[in-house]
Amino acid sequence: MPIRLCGKNKTTTPKRETTECPDNLCVYMAQAGYLLDGLFYVTISAGDINLESIGIMSTPKLELRNVSKTFHANGMVVRALENISLAVTPGEFLTVIGPSGSGKSTLFNLITGLLEPDSGEILLDGVVDVVRAGHFGYMPQRDLLLPWRSVLDNVIIPLELRGIPRTDARTRARQMLPMFGLEDFADSYPASLSGGMRQRAALLRTILTERDTLLLDEPFGALDALTRRELQDWLLGLWEQFRQTVVFITHDVEEALYLGDRVAVLSPRPGRVANMLAVDLPRPRRRGMIALPQFGRQMSELLESLGVEV
């Protein structure tokens, strides 16, 4: 398999291309990197092949290999995803962007086991696991709060389902409410919450799954620009603190760049990984970085791979 070695954070500008596999690299190949146009990409520090220092040596938290999914609904055949390969390293914040209908939500439904892929395999911590439900903190595209439960009782659902007694679960969740700005709304029903509060409640419910991998499907999609930015910074703060592995779906190019370590771009239906971009911004992220020249450059690159004229 041809491999392309890329400089760190320069995924799209290959430093070296090789058709033979260096011995020490082959070992890791199966575990990290991704396929694009028949080439296997590995990100390394420019010059030296110190894979460990850039986290490639560790087994990916989550990996998809050649995953395809086609829907058959009332006589229509919808090819939602085609040959998706992705690897997410532990502690990484990967954002996924793509046009509507490119199969982003389907991707999560496959990962969480709500759907099975037609072909390809999904690996968790390097192993193919048939029962994938319960391994992730999954936040669906709609907040899906249960209208008959108060905010507090909504967020404890993951704990409750694991058999933790309600009173214990409530005590545990109550301590988290201030961090999510929900302390005054513990006993309110979802119907009386604002959109931003509902998203935060759904996010807290996701966090309380206490899984180290979070799958967030457009968590801020339905919010106004101001609230959205506020929650982005708040989420980054949260992530900096806990360092879960995050896969974050978004429609918003700026959001994808501002939050992610890498951005995966899906093509229009059938969804494929059209581009994989390592974000050229330091951590912790600050709002001002949006004004940096590399931000603008990467933004145009993303827009271009999304097929938008720049």
Partner: protein, 266 residues
């Protein structure tokens, strides 16, 4: 909380709040109606076995309350009604759940369930009394039969109406079947189910009375048909009054349960 209340109050900004005295309007209406009725009976020469005066009905009511007859018959009918409601509710919700969850079960049973609704309960009530005797059990059955269908339909609608994405959420959290049932399906379908129970509550009274008409030795229905035979029309009025009260009380109870269980909807 305050905000939502303020919002509620502004719901009908064009309708001025009703003056306090209007609360008494329905009662005033009743008093006027009773006076008119009494006057009608006194002024015209309608015989008491056709239309007794409110006074006569009142006297009869006092009579049957004091000698315990009314209580005796009411308890019998109430037991039949509650029994019928419980039986009908249990069978309808269990069957409704199975029908809602399994297309196979639905295909197998749906034609018969629909056809069963074409049978007039009044017509098969005597048959059930022949088969199961003139005791309370046949009335419980008839009452259960009459409440069965609306509760069944509402159970199916309720369970089918649980949004698919909530099911997905529960599955992604690895909920067990029992957890999905108790923490999602039951609470999510409760509003529709309780609406069905409300209809069932009033129907169950009708069922018990129909059964008692078909043959019984106790109960408000049998008290009415006995009074009918004796041209004791005042006693019939008392019986009807007691039945209306019972139906209203049941309806009120379900409404109360509904209000408590569905507080989140307010």
């Amino acid at each position: 909380m305050d905000i939502s209340l303020a919002h509620k109050q502004q719901k009908h900004p064009l309708m001025p709040a009703a003056p306090r005295w209007q609360v008494w309007l329905p009662i005033l209406m009743l008093v006027a109606f009773l006076i008119g009725w009494e006057a009608l009976v006194r002024l015209s020469n309608i015989p008491a076995f056709i239309l007794p005066s409110p006074g006569a009905v009142g006297a009869k009511l006092a009579n049957v309350v004091l000698n315990g007859t009314l209580l005796h018959h009411s308890i019998v009918t109430l037991a039949e009604v509650v029994g019928g409601l419980a039986l009908g509710l249990t069978v309808a919700t269990v069957l409704g759940y199975l029908l809602a969850k399994s297309v196979t079960v639905e295909r197998a049973l749906a034609p018969y369930l629909v056809a069963s609704q074409a049978i007039p309960i009044v017509a098969i009530a005597p048959l059930l009394v022949i088969w199961f005797g003139s005791g309370m059990f046949s009335k419980v059955l008839i009452s259960a039969l009459i409440v069965f269908f609306p509760i069944l339909i509402n159970t199916i609608a309720g369970i089918r109406g649980v949004p698919a994405d909530l099911h997905d959420l529960m599955r992604s959290l690895r909920a067990t079947r029992w957890q999905i049932f108790s923490k999602l399906e039951v609470p999510a379908s409760l509003p529709v189910l309780l609406a069905g129970l409300k209809i069932g509550a009033t129907l169950s009274v009708i069922g018990a009375v129909v059964g008692e008409f078909a043959g019984a030795n106790a109960g408000l229905g049998s008290m009415i048909s006995l009074a009918d035979g004796q041209y004791d029309t005042a006693r019939m009025f008392v019986g009807v009054l007691a039945l209306v009260t019972m139906a209203l009380a049941l309806y009120g109870t379900v409404t109360w349960i509904e209000r408590r269980a569905l507080r989140w909807q307010k």
